[in-house]
Amino acid sequence: MGMAVSALEAKRLEAVLKGDEEVEVVGTGTDAVAYALMLVDIDVTAAYPIRPYSGVMERVARLIADGYLKAEYIVAAHEHDQFEIVKHASAVGARTFVGSSGVGWLLAIEAIVPISMDRYPVVALIGNRALDDPGAYGVEHNDALMVRDVGWLLVWVDTAQEALDTTLIAYRVAEDPRVMLPVGISMDGAFLTHSEHVFKIPPKSKVQKFLPPYDLGNRRLHPSNVISVAPQVNEDWVMELRKQVDEAMKNARKVIEEAYRDFAKIFGRDYGNPFVEPYMVEDADVIMVGMGTVSKPIKEAVRRLRARGERVGFLRIRWFRPFPTEDVIRYLSGARVVAVVDRDYSFGSPFDGGVLYTEIRSALYEAEHRPLMINFIGGLGGREITYNDAINMFNIALDAARKGRVEQRVIWYGVRE
């Protein structure tokens, strides 16, 4: 085994590959995903560097070079090639991994859509990054949200541990015959891709119990199984094939629940509700909603405001596709004010708010009690949202709760006039 990984980490990686115990390491969010790829034993990955995703391709290269992982590592000419490569590899029966960020993800969009429409369970890491222009390395969620309508399952994580665990779960869900759709794991650029966390790597022996081998069945492209895929069928077949995706996406809700249940049983880490993370939402008058690492400052704000007797809570949306409609209604319809923090924008959308705000508003239309809603657009391009910012936002929402009305629906929080 190589010298490149520190002696301590080398010992621990060998332990999870050979033994039955989990180990603890320090690493970034992208490191955590790379360790998960080692555990699920990917066959093929296609890489092309772009910040902040690139950490994972570097770590995977390292793991292959040092002998911890045997996989075909293909350096693509650009992101479009990257996604074409894994699509084709997945079609012939290889377990694949891919990823990108911001404009790189968008360059690949023409290959990204057929991956879901052709029903290949590719798993991708989207290191969330602002779209050009203006140039910015920092986080915005619009890159991943560009594919929200085309059959990709989308999940946001907020710790390295969750990144590792969710990667394992992603393969299990994606490759389930009832689903067979790709999963995009979103990770906030900088705040998770480039921050160091302590996390646990489970032993490979347990992963093998959790994740069955990838089996495409009669859809595997192979000389012994003569099939044709991705046909030009025009209006005669298109609706039926879109309907298949619709059914698969709806099936995914059940499959995700099963996967988290088994995950808790096998690994002993229980995420509770798989789709959302409710934090002190019981009895809350004001509930803030967000995705990704904005959870950290908001939770701190909740604790501080609760200490002052304010009834506030937080709901983190983990799975954005399929959307957790029932959970959103269950946890939010009891509140007087729901304040959605969007690290994204949707210019010209119904109330000129963010994507998450618009979706949650739509879900709550079916609620018996519809709370007041405020939208904070903030943290764009990687700008910080601190717990003081979150407290300020809560205060605006608490004020609306007291007055029983919202003075400004959408607030660009912290924007300079």
Binding site: R219, V226, S228, V229, A230, N234, D236, M239, K243, Q244
Partner: protein, 366 residues
Amino acid sequence: MSVQETNIYTLEIIYRGVHQRHLARNLARGIVYAARMEGSVALSYQRYGDDPERDGVPAKYFVVIAKGASEEVLDAEAARVEPDYVDISIVLDDSILKGIESWAWQGIQPVHLKLRANGLLIVVSRRSPEELLKYIPARDTPYTLVVVQGDRSIGDFWTFPDDGTLERVMGAIARVAPNVLSLEGVKKYLSSLDKPEVRVNRALEAYQSLIKMRDVKPGEGLPYKYEPPHLPGWKDMMIGGAIPGLRPNQRNPYFTGGTAKHYRPVINFDKCIKCSLCWVYCPDSVFEITPDGYFNPVLAYCKGCGICAEVCPVPDTIIMVDEMEFEDGYGKYIDEYRYWKENREAYRRWFESLLPKAQVISVRKR
């Protein structure tokens, strides 16, 4: 606003992709303009799935005319893939009578599939209605076959051969269906173009000299039953639209496409040197290798591009001959190799008889 009974007429123009797409479009638009000039409302559209940018593919244009109506009457006829029925079918190339396979494959459709009972089937041809009936399938309802005398108008991707076909067809419509398009309307439209006198005279010529008409009774014509392909439901389809593939030497029974040709290769097996160039160059893998090493065209898949005749290195060995020389079609084609094997002398005489009619002859240029 009250809804009034309106006379709505639908016409279809059946033409060959690439060669006749400008003619078809100009004719469709011309009918629309003419109809509007005589106070009707009208629109036209293409059958999009035909993909007429493909060489020779049988394709369709539709025109809807509503007499004395307001524009919104056409709303129900707009944004359609194709109409349910047509009152008039105009066939710009008589070899299309042998069947229609649109590029978005729906099986081999009879040329009059959409034609209403007692409708008009107008064909541009040099042949008589009696001769043309040998190529048209029988159907359950009567119709009238109308021949507009004329040679096949063949253009290319960019050019419209301004050869009078358009004017003659419009004159013929005015003659046989004055309720749909009057001679006055046709004249008005043609007078608004360049060379108005020449154009109007062409239309008048057809209007006056016509008309070879033949009432066709139910059951008259070729025995052929159209079977549309089965369209599976989403539960029946393989996930993601995968479909069982073809094994080596298998042909796709759901995509033949042989009706895209207006001429076909005929092989002189007596002169063939088995060089395999036709087999190599054929873009549709039409040639099958016989047990004794000849190359036999499976004509149901031949699109009539003529490349085989162009590349054949032996003089007078592959010739391209007009489809109307062969009374076959609707999925059943002559097996040239078998015919030759069965009676070489008869085949030789047959080939010799076709040679003077050939449009492309290997090595020798006509």
